[in-house]
């Protein structure tokens, strides 16, 4: 198509996140509940730094409140970061006002957790798929219907699905449509936010396979956000573990699952087995300034003095690293053995 000034060389497809911080509700609120510490802002992302290589599947794992979903949405421009940089295609997305995003919107796409509510209930699937094609001029107007049909076929659906409304399709089918919508504009990175969590178990495999196939066939990068470690281990090339707004460990899947360095990672792995996760006593931990401390210190059984007085950092381009002053070094039992422990 003429006028396509999108960046297409693979080297520019990488994204670099540096010290990304996001505070919700920065203004002091009247009568805040105690959960937010009475008036303090909620720090959803706390100086997050990470690199996303072109075409890789990067898993972001953590529990609710870890900030993993917020990270995904912030990278796509849904939230304006309080500070930090998102470097992509020679620009800092964090500083780019929404109206200047333009073509970048094509490069970065999202698949949501609940497939049903990610589609306007008043329009057919065909209509919802045609919209991005028209909006971004992906193909000629008279070819749009063909393109939509082709997209549906690519994700394993047929023309009959296209004529239906979202509530007439199942969760698995809708999620396929969501993937079709994402790839329709030929993106560089797709953020999948708990894309299979709401799907039936027997359907998850279909969608996971589809995502993997898209990645292998088109080279599109995938930021896969999930709390399900088994799924992350199958799908992802690298894993980033998040805890309360911070990345606490980063490395290849084999490295993180085989030899976890951060104590929180180990406790997550252990939670999958019947072995009871050991927790340290929460009382008696004095933290003067949370910004200058490890945020896992209160629960950590390996805590030393430094953990409460300085914040361990993490080099974003490290092959395998943990934000920890006393990282684990011994090899953890593999997941299968952990499962066997419970039986």
């Amino acid at each position: 198509m003429s006028g396509d000034q999108r960046i297409s060389t693979s080297a520019d497809a990488a994204m670099q996140v540096r010290d990304l911080t996001l505070d919700f509700g920065a203004a002091r609120r009247f009568g805040t509940s105690r959960h937010f510490g009475g008036g303090r802002a909620l720090r959803a992302l706390d100086a997050v730094s990470i690199d996303i290589a072109p075409g890789e599947i990067l898993g972001v794992v953590g529990e609710s409140g870890s900030g993993k979903t917020t990270l995904g949405k912030t990278l796509l421009g849904a939230y304006r970061p309080t500070s930090g940089q998102i470097l992509y295609g020679g620009q800092d997305l964090a500083a780019l006002p929404p109206r200047r995003w333009g073509r970048l919107r094509r490069d970065l796409q999202m698949v949501f957790q609940d497939p049903l509510s990610s589609f306007n209930p008043r329009f057919t699937i065909n209509s919802s798929l045609a919209l991005p094609l028209r909006l971004h001029g992906v193909c000629a107007k008279d070819r749009i219907a063909d393109q939509v049909a082709s997209l549906l076929r690519r994700v394993g659906l047929g023309a009959e699905h296209g004529a239906r409304y979202p509530h007439e399709l199942s969760g698995g089918q809708l999620q396929r449509v969501a993937i079709a919508r994402a790839i329709s504009v030929d993106p560089r990175i797709i953020v999948a936010d708990e894309a299979v969590s709401k799907l039936d178990v027997s359907v998850r495999a279909q969608v996971l396979n589809l995502l993997k196939r898209m990645n292998r066939e088109t080279g599109v990068g995938l930021l896969f956000i999930t709390h399900d470690l088994g799924v992350a281990r199958f799908l992802c090339d690298r894993i980033a573990v998040m805890y309360f707004g911070r990345i606490v460990e980063i490395g290849t899947t084999d490295a993180v699952f085989g030899t976890p360095r951060h104590p929180y990672t180990l406790s997550l792995l252990r939670a999958r087995s019947a072995a009871v996760a050991t927790e340290a006593d929460e009382t008696g931990v004095q933290v003067v300034d949370p910004a200058q401390a490890c945020n896992y210190a209160a629960r950590c059984g390996r805590r030393i003095a430094s953990c409460t007085t300085s914040r361990p950092d993490l080099a974003p381009d490290a092959a395998h690293a943990a934000a920890c002053f006393v990282p684990l070094t011994e090899r953890a039992p593999p997941l299968q053995e952990l499962d066997a422990l419970g039986q």
């Binding site: 796509l76 421009g77 849904a78 995003w101 333009g102 919107r105 094509r106 970065l108 796409q109 999202m110 949501f112 609940d114 509510s117 990610s118 589609f119 306007n120 209930p121 008043r122 329009f123 919209l131 991005p132 909006l135 971004h136 509530h167 919508r181 504009v185």
Partner: protein, 274 residues
């Protein structure tokens, strides 16, 4: 659509409204009588074959006058309410999605208008701006503007946080497109219900103003002026007041049931997933 026809009351409402509309649109042409010409030979005749609704104090055919009058009442009310719906919904939508100072100001003006009882406000507006159908339509529009603004704003506030709206934002859709395609169709149903109800009540307002002599001026018919006439000689010719009053009631009934029907059709569709 199937659901619409299983709801008996809605069906009744639709039929009544359809009959009323048909009568109002076609009736005046079919009637051999003029609504304004007097016939001094047939003053105050009770209902008979020649005059199914009787005649009034000028010998005019009451049925014909009611049909013409209903036409006026419906038209004035419908135009007023539609103006309110368009302007109010637009204001509410923009205020919900964009926020900001203009939105806040719009809502405050809307609240101010809303704080007056409708008929009092209508009286005030007509006294200030003058009599006549145009001004009544504008008054009705001003009365209903706050309702539509509040309603559309409240619903839009909920819808704008839905994931498909966020998906549209991330896809780079324009604000206009998001409001018009992603939000508006999903809040339309209650708005249509309000329009039907608004037209119903608007008829009452118009009739009321005309009854007081502040609306349609004689000899032109309006349901209100007919009722005013009929009230004067109610003892001698009760049919005029009764039948014109009944005409209003029937129209109101039809519109109310129709609005119930609209609500029932649109709601269960959203609850279709068990």
């Amino acid at each position: 659509m199937g659901a619409f026809f299983t709801n008996k009351l809605a069906l009744v409402g639709t039929m009544i409204t359809a009959i009323v509309l048909a009568a109002v649109v076609a009736g005046p042409w079919l009637s051999p009588y003029s609504p304004t010409d007097a016939d001094f030979l047939a003053l105050l005749s009770p209902p008979n074959l020649a005059h199914p609704f009787g005649t009034d104090s000028f010998g005019r055919d009451v049925l014909t006058r009611i049909l013409y009058g209903a036409r006026v009442s419906l038209a004035v009310s419908a135009i007023g309410v539609l103006m309110a719906a368009l302007a109010g919904s637009a204001a509410g939508l923009v205020s919900a999605y964009r926020g900001g100072w203009t939105a806040a100001t719009l809502m405050r003006i809307s609240d101010l208008l809303f704080s007056f009882p409708s008929f009092v406000l209508a009286l005030f507006l007509v006294v200030v701006f003058g009599f006549g159908t145009t001004n009544i339509a504008v008054s009705i529009a001003l009365i209903y503007f706050p309702l539509f603004a509040r309603l559309s704003r409240n619903m839009a506030l909920v819808v704008k946080d839905e994931p498909w709206v966020q998906a549209a934002q991330l896809m780079g859709q324009s604000t206009f497109s998001i409001i018009g395609r992603e939000i508006l169709p999903n809040i339309a149903a209650p708005l249509f219900v309000q329009i039907a109800l608004g037209v119903a009540f608007g008829i009452v307002i118009e009739a009321g103003l005309s009854f007081l002599g502040l609306g349609v001026q004689p000899p032109n018919p309006s349901l209100g002026t007919i009722m005013a006439d009929g009230r004067e000689y109610f003892q001698r010719a009760p049919w005029v007041l009764t039948l014109s009053g009944a005409a209003i009631s029937i129209a109101l009934l039809g519109l109310n049931l129709l609005s119930d029907g609209i609500r029932d059709v649109m709601d269960p569709k959203l609850r279709a997933r068990l």
